[in-house]
């Protein structure tokens, strides 16, 4: 009964609102509206609004209207629902795990085609390769990279100091992580050594890429949709098994999915934390102690080292809009990829700048010298060595030569049903860390379940 009453009230409210909207006077200057649905929250949502404001002020023909539709998954679901009813937005922000779904949807106007067909020149080679590579299919960029980040290591310098460790030297290897963690816990500088956010993304997906190990067959899914996972092989079992052992010893402390473990680092419980580089902005404001960043730890030989992979989201242009409106969409996407906007976006949000020109400008403007923590992510993705801030002060920063390059194992992941697969992997990781299953058993189960989902996806998307 209660629910029926509530439903009636909301219908009434909806009717009243519709009437109000219909009665509202039309704006004096007829600017063409371009709708952008996104999933950014808090300060990031304000940054999106600000970008739109800057674009709207820069010209008089189009008006970008950003609208927050909830979480990434909710935004995608909302856009799909709207597309089926033909009331979709021009642009929708989709997270990286939804890439394969979007590529095969038949609902997408590839960004590279959009730009070409509307005569907007873009230097596609000027973008950072691992970022655009993730969203490129058959040599064509499908969506405009928007908010990209990669996992890095954050560490509590105060805790390092208290445990007698050098606060300017983050651990480089997993052996060091273990050693430092034990010292830190023994010295009472923190309750646990390290924790992680986004367990599958940081500890499975990125660890495989970082160690040049395949995550799935067919070049991680870039070469086809009939794919199987490979995470239950020697490397995966070793790494996840080690995490489970460390969980018992207090070296590692599992803190939940997504960013649920943030408080463990912020309130000083765990001295090290592996989380997205996009958290730099938030930690700068919210963390009370001295902290720094380092590249992801590595197991060393016999594993090779490649680059890390990105996460985050891109902007997809949906089909079915008149050409007159697509011009505005194209201009907006060009606008946000231009160097000044890219620099502004990076400095204000911590997400990566995606053009080499923007990164070069940031280097020459001493941005990384002043904010060395923001350099770590670029170093990891482009294979540059970590920066030594002191040596670089004064002299004009010189770009060192890349030490590592992206390999087929570290160019990204392209899997159907990836959202569910990530969920399966994280569920099994919890079973392993909780002691319900061995690492081998848990990962075998994760692979078996994921392969079933991949099979279903391949069947549903047969060309």
């Amino acid at each position: 009964m209660r629910r029926t009453a509530r439903t009636c009230t909301s219908i009434l409210a909806a009717l009243v609102l519709t009437a109000a909207v219909l009665a509202a006077p039309a704006p004096a200057a007829a600017k063409t509206e371009i709708h952008l649905w996104h999933a950014m929250t808090g300060q990031l949502s304000e940054a999106v609004e600000e970008l739109a404001r800057q674009f709207n002020a820069s010209q008089g023909d189009f008006e970008i209207k950003p609208l927050r539709k909830g979480s990434y998954a909710e935004t995608l679901t909302a856009a799909i629902g709207a597309y089926r009813q033909k009331v979709h937005p021009h642009i929708v922000q989709v997270f990286e795990v939804g890439t394969q779904t979007m590529l095969l949807s038949g609902a997408v106007y590839p960004v590279q085609d959009l730009m070409k067909e509307h005569g907007i020149p873009v230097d596609w080679n000027g973008f950072i390769a691992p970022v655009v590579g993730y969203y490129t299919k058959d040599g064509k960029l499908y969506s405009m990279p928007f908010n990209s980040s990669t996992p890095i290591l954050y560490y509590n310098k105060d805790a390092f100091q208290k445990a007698g460790l050098d606060p300017s030297k983050p651990p480089q290897t997993w052996k060091q992580v273990e050693e430092y963690a034990k010292k830190i816990v023994a010295a009472g500088a923190a309750k646990c050594g390290f924790s992680t956010a986004w367990p599958s993304w940081t500890m499975v997906e990125n660890m495989h890429a970082w160690h040049d190990q395949p995550f799935a067959t067919k070049r991680n899914g870039f070469d086809g949709i009939d794919v199987e996972l490979l995470i239950n092989r020697e490397f995966g079992v070793k790494h996840v098994g080690q995490l489970a052992a460390w969980q018992k010893e207090g070296v590692y402390s599992y803190g939940g999915r997504a960013g649920a473990a943030d408080p463990k680092f912020v309130n000083g419980d765990c001295a090290m934390y592996i989380q997205s580089s996009a958290l730099i902005g938030g930690f700068t404001r919210g963390v009370k102690f001295q902290w720094g960043t380092g590249t992801l730890p590595h197991w060393g030989a016999p594993y090779k080292q490649a680059t890390s992979i990105i996460g985050g989201a891109t902007l997809w242009v949906l089909k079915g809009k008149p050409a007159a409106e697509n011009v505005g969409t194209a201009r907006f996407l060009k606008f946000i990829s231009d160097t000044p906007q890219q620099m502004w976006w990076h400095v204000n949000t911590g997400y990566l700048a995606i053009s080499n020109a923007a990164v070069k400008n940031l280097e020459e403007g001493y941005h990384f010298v002043r904010n060395p923590s923001q350099y770590t992510a670029f170093a990891q993705l482009t294979g540059l060595p970590p920066m030594a801030p002191k040596a670089m002060q004064g002299a004009k920063p010189v770009r060192p030569k890349a030490e590592r390059v992206a390999t087929p194992n570290s160019q990204g992941l392209r899997l159907g049903n990836f959202v569910q697969i990530r969920d399966v992997i994280e569920g099994e990781m919890e079973n392993i860390f909780g002691g319900k299953k061995s690492a081998k058993q848990g990962l075998d189960d994760a692979v078996a379940k994921s392969n079933q989902m991949l099979k279903e996806f391949a069947a549903a998307n047969k060309p």
């Binding site: 029926t4 439903t7 009636c8 998954a73 909710e74 995608l76 679901t77 799909i80 597309y83 089926r84 779904t101 095969l104 949807s105 038949g106 609902a107 969980q247 599992y254 803190g255 939940g256 999915r257 649920a260 473990a261 408080p263 463990k264 309130n267 419980d269 049903n417 959202v419 569910q420 969920d423 994280e426 569920g427 099994e428 919890e430 079973n431 860390f433 909780g434 319900k436 379940k449 989902m453 279903e456 069947a459 549903a460 998307n461």
Partner: protein, 294 residues
């Protein structure tokens, strides 16, 4: 009972029309849609729909995860029902004692009903979260045992059961209060004269007399636990750790709206509907006979 006779032939239909319309739009139509969806394999954008017959159902019935989800749902619904109905009977019995400030107590007992399940979930999260919760912090002084429900499934289950039961309490108490207040004073006095103690009086007189209320509440709480506890699960555990708190309604949301597997999600909602309808029918068929209506 007075029987109303309408002069106009159409007036009664007009009067029930709004309720019927709401039921059709918000129940029958979506139910039919789910039934249709369950027979297809649908691409996320809905551009390709392939008829697959009962494939979605056979996949589910071969999936051990689905059986676990069904079992989890029954454990969850059973736990919530026992706790919510038992707890509210206890609270209501206390709130019918002759004590000072009774009205204030009764009002406060009804409050949880005014809190949306998702909000209740968030409240419990702030109290119990292993990283920033208040309770684990205090418990850490008393015991070294880690109540980390991010890794321990049974604690997570207990937590969502308690949180959900708590949201049902107010509603249940309201019904029990009405039921208990209707127990005739004379009967109780007679029992006292015959030498029955408070426990005996409760077991032999009060409990049987409020059994229609109990029956109604058991049925209702069961259905609520199956259908309406999505908010609590989503806010607190998101079905984890592992799949320990993944009840059927959460799994179908996850597969449908996060995983975009609409066919399987449709099949799951059809099964869920069948389970709940069967449960309700069984309850009415068997339990009703044992219930004393006055």
């Amino acid at each position: 009972m007075k029987r109303t006779v309408f002069q106009s032939r159409w007036l009664p239909y007009v009067l029930v029309a709004p309720q019927l319309a709401v039921t059709i739009v918000f129940f029958f139509w979506p139910a039919l849609k789910s039934l249709q969806l369950s027979l297809f394999r649908v691409s996320p954008f809905g551009d390709r729909m392939t008829f697959v017959g009962l494939d979605n159902f056979t996949h589910l019935l071969q999936d051990p995860d689905y059986y676990r989800s069904v079992l989890t749902s029954f454990v969850f619904a059973g736990g919530v029902t026992i706790l919510a109905v038992g707890g509210s009977l206890f609270a209501a019995a206390l709130a019918t004692q002759k004590i000072r400030g009774l009205a204030a107590y009764r009002t406060m007992l009804l409050w949880p009903y005014g809190i949306a399940p998702a909000v209740a979930g968030i409240i419990f999260l702030f109290i119990f979260h292993p990283a920033y919760g208040v309770l684990p912090y205090f418990l850490s002084f008393v015991t070294a045992y880690e109540f980390n429900w991010l890794l321990r499934g049974w604690i997570a289950m207990l937590l969502v059961i308690v949180a959900t039961a708590w949201t049902h309490l107010g509603y249940n108490i309201a019904f029990y209060l009405a039921g208990l207040l209707a127990v005739p004073e004379s009967v109780m006095e007679a029992a006292s004269v015959d030498g029955a103690g408070p426990i005996r009086k409760f077991v032999k007189i009060t409990f049987p007399l409020v059994s229609p209320v109990t029956f109604y509440l058991v049925a209702l709480n069961m259905v609520f636990a199956f259908f309406e506890s999505f908010g609590v699960i989503d806010a607190v555990t998101k079905g984890g750790p592992g799949q320990s708190t993944e009840i059927m309604v959460f799994k179908l949301y996850k597969d449908g709206f996060i995983g975009l597997n609409l066919g399987s999600s449709g099949a799951q909602s059809v099964i869920l509907m069948a389970v709940v309808i069967t449960l309700t029918m069984l309850q009415f068929r068997f339990a009703e006979k044992k219930v004393t209506y006055r």
